[in-house]
Symmetry: C2
Subunit: 611 residues, 2 copies
């Protein structure tokens, strides 16, 4: 087991190497930007799918909608650029909202973010599968499988550690940026020589009217182009020092690239009046139009798939980090705060991988079906973060705070409006799921927190008399299934810790007890054997009843300890070949609440089978 794990994720790293695992700007852009950059794949697709139902008249709105989203991008990017220096230790929406708007709002933001990270991974992987299946139509029916395979690869790469991810992931990211920009540049040349085409000639006949709702709905879907822009502000501590400056510069480069790729492709799609086939994404249709169907086209599709696969990586950086912050604040289980063998938050990664896998399977690997869920969480987190920043500047009041508050205020306003548009126009398409999940997660955070506070109250030594009366030697009961070597070992052990030992046999079939008693006595164990009948063939029940009865009879307030003879097979599969009675009994004893608040110790005496 350990061998397989180390082969997959690498050998353990000592705690001392923690500080060395930082990213330079080139690697950080590769680690944090893929989500933001690759979102053009699904945002373009959603704008196209939203408008094409209204035919040529609808598709003519691509460019105006693209421009509106571009403006939103500028506002949100500026807003986050202000967050980075204000929160140099990581200014995720959770931190910003909690510090400025209170713990409750912070938790709402955290719930939204956890959902987003998961959806980012699912949407990116399914969109990646669609990108490559556009180039190889025989893969189209297998998009779910394809997305799951890539999920496994991404998970393993991340479990190895973030620096190695950085190296591994940088190549496809830069390959995508280069190939897509080159494609756009070549497209510009062709546009200049060929002139524009008209949707009137290419668009399918409209199946729906061009309503305001349709435009808003499409705008809402297209806003998924902005996802991922917050990743850098969440991940500042992963940058090499000076963290703040590096993070900010990386954010600006990323936003410029996002704008160029998104607006470039939207404009060019409309200029050439491009329409997608049944088993093809609109970006695939665009690049096929510009480059023809040859090797260059396949390379662009492969680059798109690769960057989308790497985009899932943003979630694998962000989700476990946020989960660990929540766990340290005691709103999520402790386990998420632990750093694994490879200095990454392995538990958070594994949970994210599992949730993403479920989403991909449940939604049949269909990006379009996942988008309505996606957009709500994204804009809720944006809004809370920006509103928090406004409050921050009002409290801060250092030089230039009014201007900064104005920018974040504009950010908060626009993202709020977008959030409302998204939630309303996509409510029935799936947004309701997320709007339901957020309060559920919020309640779960509180339940977890309440439990931890209660536990530390119960465990405190405050109020306990500093020297407790020593306990007297325990009475010991040894339940047996017969007389064999394992039982003999258990009874010998019991005798070594106590002089009050009793054997206990549960008789399932009349007459068995007499035989067992004869064997027991022939061994001269010098320990009394009690027998209880079990007409309903239960073993655990009669043992518990016996223990309760004898504890009561004994009347000194103590509970007998139980010694369990337990087989340990030589091979793991052999575990299936033995009745899990010892295990069931252990669970029953452990979870049987003690009436008097006393403890019953449970003692395993293993007997090792050689073969």
């Amino acid at each position: 087991m350990r061998g397989i794990r180390e082969w997959l994720t690498g050998p353990p790293l000592p705690t001392g190497r923690m500080a060395a695992e930082r990213l330079n700007k080139i690697r950080a852009l590769a680690a944090f930007s893929p989500d933001a950059l690759s979102s053009i794949a699904y945002a373009n697709q959603e704008i196209y799918l939203g408008l094409v139902v209204a035919g040529a008249a609808g598709l003519a709105y691509s460019w105006p909608i693209g421009l509106a989203i571009g403006a939103l991008l500028v506002i949100v990017a500026l807003s986050y650029a202000q967050t980075i220096p204000a929160y140099p230790h990581g200014g995720g929406s959770y931190t910003v909202a909690r510090e400025n708007l209170g713990a409750n709002v912070g938790l709402v933001a955290a719930a939204a973010l956890l959902i987003d990270y998961t959806l980012t991974a699912a949407v990116s992987l399914t969109a990646g599968a669609a990108a490559i299946a556009s180039a190889f139509p025989e893969l189209w029916p297998h998009r779910t499988t394809l997305a799951l395979i890539v999920l496994v690869i991404v998970t393993l790469a991340n479990l190895r550690g973030v620096r190695e991810s950085g190296t591994l992931m940088a190549i496809p990211v830069y390959f995508f940026i280069a190939s897509f920009l080159a494609m756009l540049a070549y497209g510009l040349v062709r546009a200049a020589t060929e002139g524009p085409a008209l949707y009137a000639a290419t668009a399918p006949p409209p199946s729906a009217g061009l309503t305001t709702f349709l435009i808003l709905h499409t705008f809402a879907s297209g806003c998924t182009a902005l996802t991922g822009i917050e990743a850098i502000s969440n991940g500042i501590p992963a940058f090499q020092p000076p963290e703040t400056k590096n993070a900010r510069q990386t954010l600006i480069v990323m936003a410029l690239l996002m704008g160029a790729l998104f607006l470039g492709s939207i404009w060019m799609t409309q200029y050439f009046a491009i329409v997608a086939g049944a088993q093809e994404t609109i970006l695939s249709a665009l690049s096929r139009r510009v480059l023809g169907g040859g090797l260059l086209y396949v390379l662009v599709q492969a680059g798109t798939m690769a960057v989308l696969a790497v985009a899932a990586n943003t979630s694998f950086a962000g989700f476990p980090r946020l989960a660990s912050v929540l766990a340290k604040d005691r709103f999520l289980p402790n386990q998420f705060a632990h750093i694994g063998d490879r200095l990454v938050y392995s538990n958070g990664m594994l949970l994210l991988a599992a949730l993403t896998g479920v989403l991909i399977v449940v939604f049949n690997g269909d990006t379009h079906a996942l988008i309505p869920l996606f957009a709500v969480g994204v804009f809720l987190a944006f809004t809370l973060s920006q509103a928090g920043m406004v409050v921050h500047w009002f409290r801060d009041r250092t030089r230039g705070w009014t201007f900064k508050a104005l920018i974040n205020g504009l950010g908060a306003l626009t993202t709020t409006v977008t959030l409302v548009v998204v939630a309303v126009s996509k409510f029935l398409d799936g947004a309701w799921i997320v709007l339901l999940l957020i309060p559920i997660l919020y309640a779960a955070f509180f339940a977890v927190n309440r439990h931890y506070r209660e536990v530390s109250r119960e465990l405190t030594l405050h109020g306990l008399p500093p020297s407790l009366k020593p306990l007297s030697e325990p009475r010991v009961v040894v339940p047996i299934s017969g007389v064999h070597r394992g039982v003999i070992e258990a009874v010998r052990y019991a005798r070594s810790i106590s002089d009050q030992v009793t054997g206990l046999y549960v008789e399932l079939n009349d007459g068995d007890a007499a035989r067992v008693r004869t064997e027991w006595e022939s061994w001269g164990l010098d320990v009394p054997l009690e027998v209880v009948p079990s007409p309903y063939r239960s073993i655990v029940g009669p043992i518990l009843t016996f223990l309760d009865r004898t504890d009561t009879e004994n009347n000194d307030g103590t509970l007998a300890s139980v010694v369990l003879p337990e087989f340990v097979p030589a091979h793991w599969w052999q575990v299936l070949l033995h009745n899990q009675t010892a295990w069931l009994l252990k669970v029953a004893l452990l979870y049987q609440r003690r009436r008097h608040g006393h403890t019953r110790a449970i003692i395993d005496v293993p007997f090792y089978l050689r073969d």
Copy 2:
């Protein structure tokens, strides 16, 4: 938990009620015949699908193929009628093959039967879903879900116990028999008044030639009409006394019904030259033609679905019974031999339900895809059983043995020929899976058997000196994560069983140990505390190393016992909120092979959290 289980499956029944749980003939027919009777649903469908590719010329072969299968039915039914009195305690293929052809052949038969039972359940449930979806086209895409829902219902009904199954299941069986026979009778009247139709006018154009292989392939698929005929001979002990006579009479009635339903529907389909639509079974098309599309037609489809659902019941009677026989012979895990709360073999039922569910999902709820796997196992089991009976009569040599041997010999011959036809013509369609699985199961049976024999050899007291030297008081180590109430309780318990107690703290971060040691000493526990550092953040590893080292240093051949303070939360979900360190440590200690063959006892001291 117990409450939910009892609500679903009923309260426990005492062992004494075992004998009362027998079936009269009416109930036995309902319990054992549905598989046999309902097989017309998929057998007809397979004959139709096999021939329709050859157009009208192909479909003209329906009736001849039906007659050949009818002849096979007579031979197989007569053969099994001879098995019942010869093996009154249950003459399944496993028993008959093992007793007459040796243990190895018996196990091959058992493997084939286990596979068959599972496929019977899967095929019946998917065919049932197809029957009802033929009547309600909107259900057609949801056949997998439909089949799974019915699987859950059937499983629960069976977990309640076989008599209750009998009552619950008898109604749909008799409803199906009555409605289908009535439909055939009405069809005969219409046939007499309307005269025959010709496939030349209705069949789609052929897409394949009419080859001998096509005919054989179709015959092989159609032979699935015979499945289930062996169920009664497996289940004789479930009949009311006189078991043999009742079982035999029930078998004859069942075979006559099978013949009437199968030949009647095949003949009528050809007479009316019926062709099925894209989302419809051929039986649905037949009954729509005879009855029109109204309520009567829907009732026949509902009856077909119901009897197919109940057919899965045959598997739920047979599979757990066979598994228990194999478990008693020590070829399957012990657990399958146990009778559950409700006097049924619950573990076998749960395994069958799980396997069937997987098959339905993997094969997308498509009966046609499952059939090639199905037919091989069925005919392999038939062949081995009949061959065993021939040997039986040669050994028996009582009055009339030659005639009986002749009948079973004819059975063996015809089923062998069919088996070869099935295995060859359907090899690539999926028969290979079963031909591969049978030797794998066979090997698994042997591995299990070998393990159990080895264990009883190791556990024997033979050779052990009858009075063993008493063990001395154990050394005890208490690993701690800090100083709190749970730890105090654990140390007090350790002191009560031994004078040699050591606390053990694993230091993950520099400086923690000093703080813990101060608290430890301030409590005046009078127990030494050892500290081991852990630069790789592992807790289990350093503890194991410490134990090994101190055991070696101690040099008296004994191993220290380990006392584990363990939190027990008040609610099950809170388990997730605590590090599973105690649990991981327990597993590691249990599975760490002892070098000297000595035993290290593991002692849980639970600490109960109140909230």
